[in-house]
């Protein structure tokens, strides 16, 4: 049975269903319940934007609040994962990675390789990314390229409620460490989501729309921006194929390459930055492996190489929008050698 629910609800539902299914799943993070030690309501917050609300009353011993000590509690989730739990730890904003990155990239990511294949670390780190909430430079970043670059980590970027639930279920069941990146501006978006549990396999892109003129690879919240641009372009007869990789690591190279083989043109739309980002990564992939099919330069649409500005008009200029995507598509289509 499918219902329309929000991205937030989809994530919450995935957590509830996996916690019911598997007693080794524990949830932890700052105010993931909320109200620890306080006289009022416990489960007072359910996370800063209410994503984990209601879990603690249901699973009182498996939802843990934490002090503000990201290294310690993210590291604890990792240590617990090596000892048979399946922790889902919340790094409230991905922007906070700088206070705990070592545990993620030098510990969790490397155990299996460093220890000669003799470690399994099934930890999920849920984290919120992206601009749009006027949260300014330290609460609005799209830093998943850093995690994508790290061997040993998997990175999921759900673009809709359906993806959010299915990818989170997969993340929890997955035996490798997963960075699960939730776009904060998507929490209230609504979409059709099956009530029963399902897992979306990692490394399988979704073809959001078929079209023969140009391939648009779009990530996370940019998928809907690409759809908007494609709608506009359709009016002038341009048919865009939109590919949502859903995970950047593993990356479904085949689907991207096949699409470009077919369309001959590529525009990558990403909210991460222009330097050493996922847009460059996918552009480079195609420039290396589908060059023969390419009939125009690879277009990339990303924010500028600046921090995220606070002021609404600047933030709105910062984030790629449908107009910029459409312009990039047109320039790729109009290109003459």
């Amino acid at each position: 049975m499918s219902r329309n629910i929000t991205y937030r609800e989809a994530i919450n539902e995935a957590l509830v269903q996996e916690m019911e299914r598997d007693p080794s799943v524990v949830v932890l993070g700052e105010d993931n319940a909320g109200g620890a030690g306080a006289p009022g309501e416990s489960d007072a917050w359910g996370g800063v934007l209410g994503v984990t609300k209601g879990l603690q009353p249901r699973f009182p011993d498996r939802v843990l609040d934490t002090p503000i000590s990201e290294s310690a509690f993210i590291g604890a989730a990792i240590g617990a994962a090596t000892r048979g739990l399946r922790p889902v730890a919340e790094l409230m904003f991905i922007d906070f990675m700088g206070v705990c990155l070592d545990q993620i990239f030098n510990q969790a990511a490397k155990f299996r390789y460093m220890f000669g294949g003799r470690a399994v670390t099934p930890v999920v780190i849920r984290t919120m990314y992206g601009a749009g909430l006027r949260a300014a430079a330290q609460h609005s970043q799209s830093l998943y390229p850093v995690f994508t670059s790290v061997p040993g980590l998997k990175v999921a970027l759900p673009s809709s409620p359906y993806e959010a639930k299915g990818l989170l279920v997969q993340a929890i069941r997955d035996d490798d460490p997963v960075i699960f990146c939730e776009h904060k501006a998507l929490y209230d978006t609504v979409g059709e989501v099956p009530a029963e549990s399902y897992a979306i396999p990692f490394g399988e892109a979704q073809i959001v729309r078929e079209g023969g003129d140009v391939t648009i690879v779009a990530l996370g919240r940019m998928v809907s921006v690409a759809v908007e641009a494609a709608d506009e372009l359709a009016a002038s007869g341009v048919r865009c194929e939109i590919v949502d990789p859903r995970t950047t690591s593993p990356l479904d190279e085949d689907t991207i390459l096949e699409s470009v083989e077919h369309t001959g043109r590529l525009v990558v739309v990403d909210e991460a930055g222009p330097r050493c980002g996922t847009a460059a990564d996918i552009a480079a992939l195609v420039a290396g492996k589908a060059f023969g099919a390419l009939r125009a330069p690879v277009g990339t649409v990303t924010p500028p190489h600046t921090p995220v500005p606070f002021s609404p008009p600047l933030e709105d200029l910062y984030v790629p929008d449908a107009t910029r995507v459409a312009a990039a598509v047109k320039s790729v289509l109009d290109w003459k050698a």
């Binding site: 009022g40 503000i68 002021s311 609404p312 600047l314």
Partner: protein, 335 residues
Amino acid sequence: MPDTLRTPRDPATGGLDAAALLDAYRTMRTIRVFEERLHDEFATGDIPGFVHLYAGEEASAAGVCGWLDDERDVIASTHRGHGHCIAKHVDVKAMMAEIYGRATGSCHGKGGSMHIADLSRGMLGANGIVGGGPPLVCGAALASKVRGDGGVAVAFFGDGGANQGTTLESLNLATVWHLPAVFIAENNGYAEATAAEWSVGGGSVAARAAAFGMPGTTVDGFDFFAVREAAGEAIERARTGGGPSLVEVRLTRYYGHFEGDQQTYRTTEVQRARAELDCLLRFRTRVTASGDLTAAQLDAVDEEVAALIEEAVTEAKAAPLPTAADLDTDVYVTY
């Protein structure tokens, strides 16, 4: 005994003259009205982003920053930074404009509430990262030490921030380098919805000072004079080469963690604090009882402040927004 609240040695008005008392009151009152106005304005939907209000905690910012001068002394603040900024003489109108995202703001609209700074006043910035400030303060203190300019650097952080590794490392580094640094732990009982009694292992931030080799003390943060005295000792120690100290200030925030917080995790604490402990009320009672100031003098400040904040909001709302040309400027000095 870090867990016993200090009472000021001078039970009256800390030896401040009338002008200084008025100044302190003006600082606290400005913070209060600034924050209460923001609370109202936020409700209208006009203010973008996350806003963390300092109302209730004014005695801390004012009691500490009253000792500092704009030139050589530095503070670093937190997400709850408006009060520290005002106490360190950042322009109030520019702050308001910044919070409204205007080009006339302290940060040209690029920073917002969580990043207000004014390096020319030794205000190293509010900070969106819990524990972001203390390392920076070690550096500001180091710069003063290397130059020998007698400057002192002060880190404000919360009970929640007292659990962040960056803060704890900084306490140690300040001792090891014997820095002219002061750590002000503003313990308002909560980090978001999490009680300090739960999250601060051992229960006392002040007690952590000794573990890193520096004096630590706890003061009643509703009492401007108590804060002022304890901070004064710590700042004097730092300034005269005596090394770092920590002061834990116990207080209550009057609003939610940020605007929008329903605060179901706490009960009647705020009402009680407002009614019985409020720093402005206590200050007023004390200085009028002692005869240092008259109610009329204080009322005049209230009016002056009301007018300032009114103007600040009006001007901020009317001020220009940044434009496309501003998007990619000031990332680098040169590139």
